[in-house]
C-alpha cells in the first residue's frame, strides 16, 4: 500500500529537496520535487499527490501563497510546511489555512518518520471514507439529488414524509431540476419499493400512441396491432406510476386517466375485460397548471386528483450553495466514466459556475461538467473548459456604470425569485416599496418566457 503514496517536495534549496527526496524514497514512496510554487502547481495539475512538503520561505511565490491555492484547488492533498528557525509564527498561520503540520529544518528523523506514518494512516482513512460515502450514496439512490442547502434539506424531509403515505404526489419544478429523481426517491422509500417504478414521459408521444402506451391494447385493436400489449398502467401494478410532463396530456385522455385513478380499473384498447390495478401516482410538470386550467387546457378535477400532495423543486439558481457539491459529485462520476484523471476544479472555474444562471438546472450543470471533463487535458478543470457557457455569463457583467450594474443586479435577483417581490426584496435587503419604485424607474419586466 505504501508504494502507491505519492509525495511532492517543494523547496528552493536544492540540498534540502534532494536529501528529503532520498529519505522518502527509502520508504518506497513515489517522490517528485519542485523548486518553486509555480512549478509545484503545474505538477499538481497533472498528478494527484497525496502529500506535499512545502517550504514556507521561497522567493517569487511564498509557501503560504502556494498553500492557499492547494487547499482551494486540491483539498485532498495533505500539506506539511517546512519552516526554518524564526518562521514558526508563519507556520502556525499556515496550519490555520489548512496545513496538517510543520517541521523545522533540519528535521529530527524520528519526528519525520512518525509524522509521515501518521499522515499515511490518515490518508488511508480518508480514502476509505470516500469509498464508504460512495457506497452509501449508491445505496440510498438519491443519486443526483445532492444538496446541503436549506431548500434541498427541506425537500429531502418532504420526500421522507411523502413516502410514508400512499397519496398521489404532484412534483413541480423547471426542466432539469430532477423531478424524476425525486419520484424515484419517493418510490424507493415507500412501502411499494419492491414493486415496479414505471415512468412515462407524456410529452414524448403523439396522442394515439400515448393512449396505447398507457392502456395497452388487445390484438387487432387498431391497424398494426398484431398482438396484445400490456400498457404502463398494467405494468405499474403494486408499484408506482410516474407521469412525467403531465401538463401535456390531451384533455380527452385526462378524462380517461381521471377515471382510472378514481376506480383503479381500466380496459385495454379494443378490450372489454376490466383490469384492476393497484399503484401509486406521482405526476410531474414544469408548466403552471393553474394557468393551464384558466386557459381551459387542463381539467381542474384531474388536477385535484393529482395534486393531493405537492412538492416543488427549486431551480438551481435559487440554491447556488449546492453548486460546489453537485460539481464534485458529477466530476467524480465523469472522471470515472471517461477514465480520465480529472479530479479537481479551479477556484475561478467554480466561481464561474456559481455565477451562471443555469436555465437548464442540474441537468445542464451535469452536461457542462461532462463536456468539460471530456475536453480537459489536465487534471483540473479551469475556466477555459467552460468557455461554452461564457456568452450567457458576461451580458451584465461588463460595465463599470454603477446604475447599469444596479439595474442588472435587480433584474437578476427578480428573475431568480421568479418575480416574487417579497422574496426578491428580502434578498436585496431593501423593502418592497423601494423595490417597486426601482422596477418602475428602470422599467423592469419579467423576461423569462416560461413563467
Amino acid at each position: 500500500m505504501a508504494n502507491k503514496i505519492s509525495i511532492l517536495v517543494v523547496d528552493d534549496e536544492m540540498v534540502i529537496r534532494e536529501s528529503l527526496h532520498g529519505w522518502l524514497k527509502k520508504s518506497g514512496y513515489k517522490v517528485d520535487t519542485a523548486e518553486g510554487g509555480s512549478a509545484a502547481l503545474a505538477m499538481l495539475e497533472k498528478t494527484p499527490y497525496d502529500l506535499l512538503f512545502l517550504d514556507i520561505m521561497m522567493p517569487v511565490m511564498s509557501g503560504i501563497e502556494v498553500l492557499e491555492v492547494v487547499k482551494e484547488d486540491y483539498p485532498q492533498t495533505l500539506v506539511v510546511m517546512i519552516t526554518a528557525y524564526g518562521s514558526v509564527e508563519t507556520a502556525v498561520q499556515a496550519m490555520k489555512i489548512g496545513a496538517v503540520d510543520y517541521l523545522m529544518k533540519p528535521f529530527d528523523p524520528d519526528q519525520l518518520s512518525l509524522l509521515t506514518e501518521k499522515l499515511m494512516q490518515q490518508k488511508r482513512i480518508m480514502d476509505e471514507n470516500i469509498f464508504l460515502r460512495e457506497q452509501i450514496a449508491e445505496a440510498i439512490r438519491f443519486e443526483n439529488l445532492v444538496g446541503r442547502s436549506k431548500a434541498m434539506q427541506d425537500l429531502f424531509a418532504m420526500i421522507q414524509d411523502v413516502a410514508e403515505s400512499d397519496s398521489p404526489v404532484l412534483i413541480t419544478g423547471d426542466t432539469g431540476t430532477g423531478k424524476e429523481l425525486v419520484a424515484k426517491a419517493i418510490h424507493a422509500k415507500s412501502a411499494r419499493h419492491n414493486g415496479p417504478f414505471i415512468a412515462i414521459n407524456c410529452g414524448a408521444f403523439p396522442e394515439h400512441l400515448l393512449e396505447s402506451e398507457l392502456f395497452g391494447h388487445e390484438r387487432g385493436a387498431f391497424t398494426g396491432a398484431h398482438r396484445a400489449k400490456k400498457g404502463r398502467l398494467d405494468l405499474a401494478h403494486y408499484g408506482t406510476l410516474f407521469l412525467d410532463e403531465v401538463g401535456t396530456v390531451p384533455l380527452k385522455m385526462q378524462v380517461d386517466l381521471l377515471r382510472v385513478l378514481e376506480t383503479k380499473a381500466f380496459h385495454r384498447l379494443g378490450g372489454t375485460e376490466e383490469i384492476e390495478v393497484d399503484f401509486r401516482t406521482i405526476a410531474a410538470t414544469n408548466r403552471d397548471l393553474q394557468q393551464a386550467i384558466e386557459k381551459g387546457e387542463f381539467r381542474q378535477d384531474f388536477f385535484y386528483r393529482l395534486n393531493v400532495i405537492s412538492l416543488h423543486i427549486p431551480p438551481l439558481r435559487q440554491r447556488r450553495d449546492d453548486i460546489p457539491l453537485l460539481v464534485e459529485h458529477f466530476l467524480d462520476r465523469y472522471s470515472r466514466e471517461t477514465n480520465k484523471d480529472v479530479d479537481t476544479i479551479s477556484k475561478e472555474a467554480m466561481d464561474l459556475l456559481r455565477q451562471y444562471d443555469w436555465p437548464g438546472n442540474v441537468r445542464e450543470l451535469e452536461n457542462a461538467i461532462e463536456r468539460a471533463v471530456v475536453i480537459c487535458k489536465k487534471r483540473r478543470l479551469g475556466p477555459e473548459e467552460f468557455s461554452f457557457l461564457a456568452p450567457h455569463l458576461s451580458a451584465a457583467a461588463e460595465t463599470y456604470s454603477l446604475e447599469k450594474t444596479q439595474i442588472a443586479h435587480v433584474r437578476k435577483v427578480l428573475n431568480e425569485f421568479d418575480w416574487n417581490i417579497s422574496k426578491a426584496a428580502q434578498a436585496l435587503e431593501i423593502n418592497r416599496v423601494t423595490l417597486h419604485k426601482k422596477i418602475k424607474k428602470y422599467d423592469l419586466r419579467p423576461d423569462r418566457a416560461s413563467n
Binding site: S19, G22, K25, K26, S27, P106, D108, D110, S113, E117
Partner: protein, 210 residues
C-alpha cells in the same frame, strides 16, 4: 510463499577469519573503517552481514577519517559526501560499507545513524550515537555491537533496493531513536527476504548456501 520466519538470531560475536579457503576469493560486500573505529566492531559487523545477508564479506584496509565531508556550520559530517567518496573508490566490490565514529547528517535531517545509496554501491554507518542511551549514559558493549550490526544490515539492504517495511518483526522497519532500534529483530521478514533474494538475482549476485 516461504514459511514464517522464526529464526531467533543472536549476534555472531567471535567470527572466524573471512577470506577463508571455502569462500570465493572476491567478496560481494567490502567493509572498511574510516578513522577511529575499533577492529572488534568491524569484525562483528562483517561476520553478521555474511551470515544474515548470506553474502561473502571482505574486510578492507582501514582508511582515514572522512574530513572532506566535515561541515563547519553543522559541526557534523555530510553522509552523502562520504557515500559518494566510497562509491567512487575501493573497487571492485559490488557493495561497500563504511564504518565511521563521527556524527553524520543529511541536509534535511538533524542526524542519521546510517545512510545508503538506494540501489547503489555504498552504505555508511556512524557509531557516534549508538554508544549512548537517549539520556546520555553509555550502553553495554553487547547492545552497542547489536545496534551497529542492525544499522549496517538495514543500510546495506537499501543498496539492494529494499525499502522500509511496516512488518513489526523486520530489520527494515523504520526505527525512531536508538532504543527503538533495540526493539528491532536481527532478521528480515519473509517479504523482505524474498525481495532480497530477487535483488541478488537481478544484480547477478551469488549468495552463500543456507
Amino acid at each position: 510463499m516461504s514459511p514464517v520466519n522464526t529464526r531467533a538470531r543472536t549476534l555472531t560475536k567471535y567470527p572466524g577469519t573471512n577470506n577463508s579457503t571455502s569462500l570465493p576469493t572476491q567478496g560481494v560486500v567490502g567493509v572498511v573503517r574510516l578513522g577511529a573505529v575499533g577492529e572488534a566492531v568491524l569484525n562483528i559487523v562483517a561476520a553478521n552481514l555474511q551470515e544474515i545477508l548470506r553474502l561473502p564479506v571482505d574486510i578492507l584496509p582501514p582508511r582515514q577519517s572522512p574530513e572532506f565531508a566535515y561541515n563547519e556550520r553543522r559541526k557534523q559530517y555530510h553522509a552523502a559526501l562520504i557515500l559518494k567518496n566510497l562509491a567512487e573508490s575501493l573497487r571492485p566490490h559490488p557493495r561497500i560499507l563504511g564504518l565511521v565514529s563521527v556524527d553524520l547528517f543529511i541536509p534535511v535531517l538533524t542526524h542519521v545513524f546510517g545512510e545508503a545509496q538506494m540501489g547503489g554501491r555504498a552504505a555508511v554507518v556512524s557509531l557516534h550515537r549508538l554508544k549512548q542511551k537517549e539520556e546520555g549514559s553509555r550502553v553495554s558493549l553487547d547492545t552497542f555491537y547489536e545496534r551497529v550490526v542492525k544499522v549496517a544490515l538495514h543500510e546495506v539492504a537499501h543498496t539492494f533496493d529494499l525499502v522500509h517495511c511496516n512488518q513489526a518483526e523486520c530489520i527494515m522497519r523504520i526505527s525512531s531513536g536508538p532504543s527503538d532500534l533495540d526493539e528491532l529483530p536481527l532478521f528480515f521478514c519473509e517479504y523482505c527476504e524474498a525481495f532480497l533474494a530477487e535483488a541478488y538475482r537481478r544484480y547477478d549476485i551469488q549468495s552463500l548456501p543456507l
